[in-house]
Symmetry: C2
Subunit: 279 residues, 2 copies
């Protein structure tokens, strides 16, 4: 078992892996990424992550990269590292070229990956739920593309931790968008309410799986906008994401959500997700 | 005369300079930058650029970096490269650490620089003026900090070039903000109207110098919001920036601004700036 880095086909220790200073990911944030996790030696939703990666690449007009090549590289890294519960981070930048805002004419995308053991969320958070704060959504206008334009997410997450909470939830025009690295949903009247897919939120893979699981479990799902008032009146609330899985949010801005403890719908979805993933 | 890179004190050719893949500038865009130009062997507005760099670093809660150390490194690089008309790019990231949104506890800022000959704007643009398009401002909410959250700027600049124009001007709530790497001003009734300093525009060094020059030249300056209607009614319009200097914009969205050619106020300010800079 070994943590590894991959840079355009070359494997190394993560600490020694390097990219050119004029990689556009470094100077412009001109790069997209994915994070894929495995359970018991099997990658979860690999094809769905590749779908989204392709969507992000297309959305930024990157030169095409054969999907088969990316898949092969991921699987090679996964096999070499031999980590049963692995997290694979994949970042693809537009290329390296002398600094200029314009797309460079003669460069090819740079593919960088790391593989590590997944850092699990604290058991205490899963048992008792987590607290969140709300922050004004000051991110850019294309949050549906999974890019490294993440500084606002970094600042909001740090603000949440400094306030003694676990995460921050972005609000714009009164509408509840999502958290700093997870989608956000509420439970109300036995059904789930979650922000519809548009340019303000990431089309989360776990969000998609949860919606599918809700169909199986006969839990109604409403993909529609909801505001902070509705959030504070909700019975339950939870985050979804690749590492977050389904994480209960029991307090927002120091106000209790529902009973202020992990609710039955959230718990059921967490268990169903873990089962689906082969955990 | 040699183009050079600097990475935490080490000099090399630009092409061979590298940073760790887990530099936060690469994975989060968690980095700030400056671009300083020289004229005839003298750096222009070095202290003003250092002021702004410190402001950006503070605005993101970076660990403090002694200003003297940064200045010394810049001057060392400038002397070594011995380029009379140089452009020095300075990028400082929060540090390198295993990927996690939270500020890392034990890392120090990474300082990367490059020095090159300045790529001058085409003489034809200076003579006849340039065209611009307007685009909806879809950047993040802290454009006053000079960070590498530049993907929207990249996409807008490319869109402008694809449309046969030179640059794109960001508009939000009908208000004219700035261009993709320059501030934007109009001339109306003999005076200058330019967006006031707030979180929607970069506090441009050249913008500041131009305002100062206007005082000398007895040209009235109004720092206030203006909308696209006012832009289209303006007598002149121009960009300001370190490499842009003062660049006339004579057409926006295929509509002529004023007479559709370089106006007298713009030309006077360009010449005054060049003189101030010792060009």
């Amino acid at each position: 078992m070994a943590e590894l880095a991959y840079v355009n086909g070359t494997l190394s220790a993560i600490e020694s892996a390097r990219v050119p200073i004029e990689d556009r990911g470094y100077q412009f944030g001109d790069a997209v990424y994915e994070f894929i996790a495995s359970y018991n030696g099997t990658l979860f939703c690999l094809e769905e992550h590749l779908d989204r990666l392709e969507r992000s690449l297309r959305g930024l007009d990157f030169s095409p990269i054969p999907r088969d090549g990316i898949r092969k590289a991921i699987l090679m890294l996964f096999e070499k590292a031999s980590i049963s519960r692995a997290g694979i981070y994949i970042q693809i930048s537009r290329g390296a070229a002398p600094r200029n805002h314009l797309f460079p004419k003669s460069t090819s995308p740079q593919v960088v990956m790391t593989i590590r053991e997944v850092e699990e969320k604290p058991a205490e958070l899963r048992k008792n739920g987590a607290a969140a704060i709300t922050v004004e959504d000051f991110r850019w206008g294309r949050c549906d593309l999974k890019t490294v334009q993440l500084l606002p997410n970094v600042l909001a997450k740090q603000k949440a931790i400094d306030a003694g909470a676990f995460d921050a939830i972005f609000i714009s025009e009164g509408i509840v968008r999502e958290a700093t690295s997870s989608n956000f949903s509420i439970v109300s009247g036995g059904g789930i309410i979650t922000h519809p897919l548009n340019q303000n939120i990431l089309p989360g893979i776990t969000r998609m799986v949860i919606i599918d699981l809700c169909k199986e479990l006969k839990i109604p799902v409403h993909e529609r906008f909801f505001n902070t008032e509705e959030l504070f009146r909700a019975d339950e609330a939870f985050l979804t994401g690749t590492v977050t899985e389904v994480l209960p949010i029991v307090q927002v801005d120091r106000r209790r959500i529902g009973e202020g403890r992990v609710g039955p719908v959230t718990q059921r979805l967490y268990e169903a997700l873990r089962e689906r993933a082969g955990a």
